[in-house]
């Protein structure tokens, strides 16, 4: 540690794997999806990429994607751990 003060450096997963916070996981129904992108737009944590793949390491399972999906193509399913 050479910094004279606490300087935090950017790091993916700075707060650990927040995917473990989930009770429900989003599951995308590719058939129903029309790739409008609203799920990615509204994801608070930016966990959904352009191909509408969800990064489950970090997805907290808030369910906004499912709620905002106009095609109801995302279902929140109970985590089985």
């Amino acid at each position: 540690m050479n910094d004279p003060v606490a300087m935090s450096r950017p790091k993916k997963g700075a707060a650990g794997l927040t995917g473990s916070w989930r009770t429900f996981r989003p599951v995308v129904d590719r058939e129903a999806c029309n790739a409008c992108g609203l799920c990615a737009m509204y994801c608070p944590d930016g966990c959904i990429n352009e191909d509408h793949e969800i990064d489950l390491d970090y997805c907290k399972g808030c369910g906004i994607c499912a709620q905002e999906c106009p095609k109801k193509a995302i279902k929140m399913e109970r985590e089985e751990r």
């Binding site: 540690m1 910094d3 004279p4 003060v5 606490a6 300087m7 935090s8 450096r9 950017p10």
Partner: protein, 369 residues
């Protein structure tokens, strides 16, 4: 150049010479003349600084913090309630290791309203991590303000520095002043942890107990390095400009049986008392403390001490007395609380304290029988 100036104008002249990029300040008696003078320098184009006329002292210190973390030199001045209003940010500045320089014109605190000299304002900031220097003449105010930038910005220190001068007694007195061409006495400021959008970092993010502890220790390590750095700044100053300063200002101490220990302008008044006492055959000396934090090593063994305190810790004792007692437990000491709220303390009064000293006791001048 030799001229005459008030303590306030001397500080402003030194700040001008130090070329800060940002000055943020709020007026308060008896400091106001400093920031008015700086505003004039800036308006007249004699100083290439951004003057931020903030709406409070809390914001003055915060704006200096915001400026300093980008890596530029910053300055502010305040006094009394202004200093206490920024107290939170004083901790922040030191904790963030920002070499901000501040002049504090020592003044009492209300109630009742009192604009005159007292050291309680600075003493209340004792544990903030600021280096605190106390001066006694217009010349010393100028010289020490210049040194303050060099000390604060030393990469082994990176702590803010407060230059204290007594309200009115020194801030408004006119004395001769020799200004200097500072050349490279204050090297360009290099802040290793300055904000860099090319190499982003989170400053002051949540820091756990173990790490927080480490950074507090870093502050103390810097404080422990500071005596050598301050001494170096003083020696270099003496070499370049011919005026010598040290952690204490000693006057006829070597053969003294009794030392008057004081801070600020009382230290000069005490020298007159020493002269008069010596005429009576009392071997007195004056020891004026210039560095309050870091607190200096004192050569006081086997002498009676008469400590003049211009600030008090209620329920405990005089603040200077406290510092000396805790460092030198065996000291034989007469604690005089005097000069609060600008109470007049003359060289005759000081001589009387020495003549009538009661070792081990405390005496409130003008109140005690």
């Amino acid at each position: 150049m030799l001229t005459v100036a008030t303590g306030n104008k001397a500080v402003a002249a030194a700040v001008k010479a130090a070329k800060p990029a940002v000055v943020a300040a709020y007026p308060i008696t008896p400091q106001t003349e400093i920031v008015e003078q700086i505003a004039e320098y800036v308006t007249a184009g004699e100083m290439d600084a951004r003057y931020i006329p903030v709406e409070s002292e809390h914001s003055a210190m915060t704006a200096c913090i915001g400026a300093s973390i980008t890596g530029v030199r910053s300055f502010t001045a305040t006094s009394s309630h202004g200093l206490l209003y920024m107290h939170e940010m004083l901790h922040w500045a030191a904790g963030a290791r920002l070499p901000i320089v501040m002049a504090n014109v020592n003044r009492a605190l209300g109630p009742g309203w009192n604009v005159w000299a007292e050291h309680t304002d600075a003493f209340s900031q004792r544990d903030t991590g600021w280096i605190q220097l106390f001066v006694s003449t217009v010349q010393e105010a100028y010289d020490t303000t210049l040194m303050a930038f060099r000390i604060a910005e030393n990469t082994g220190i990176l702590l803010p520095v407060m230059v204290n001068l007594d309200g009115f007694v020194l801030s408004h007195i006119m004395q001769s002043l020799e200004t200097v061409e500072i050349g490279d006495y204050i090297p360009p400021m290099v802040l290793p942890h300055r904000i860099d959008t090319g190499n982003p970092a989170g400053y002051g993010t949540l820091t756990g107990p173990g790490d927080h502890f480490k950074f507090r220790w870093e502050i103390e390590k810097a404080m422990r390095n500071s005596p050598a750095v301050i001494a170096d700044a003083e020696e270099e100053f003496a070499m370049r400009f011919g005026r010598k300063y040290g952690p204490v200002d000693e006057y006829l101490c070597d053969d003294a049986d009794v030392l008057i220990v004081s801070m600020g302008t009382l230290g000069k008044e005490a020298e007159v008392a020493v002269d008069n006492l010596r005429k009576e055959g009392i071997k007195a000396g004056s020891l004026r403390i210039r560095w309050f934090r870091p607190f200096p090593e004192l050569d006081i063994s086997d002498r009676d001490l008469v400590v003049l305190d211009r600030g008090y810790s209620f329920g405990f004792g005089g603040v200077l007395t406290d510092s000396i007692k805790s460092r030198y437990r065996d000291s034989s000491l007469f604690s005089v609380v005097a000069g609060l709220g600008g109470q007049e303390v003359t060289y005759d009064d000081i001589a009387e304290f020495v003549r009538n000293r009661r070792m081990g006791e405390e005496y409130w001048f003008g109140v005690d029988a």
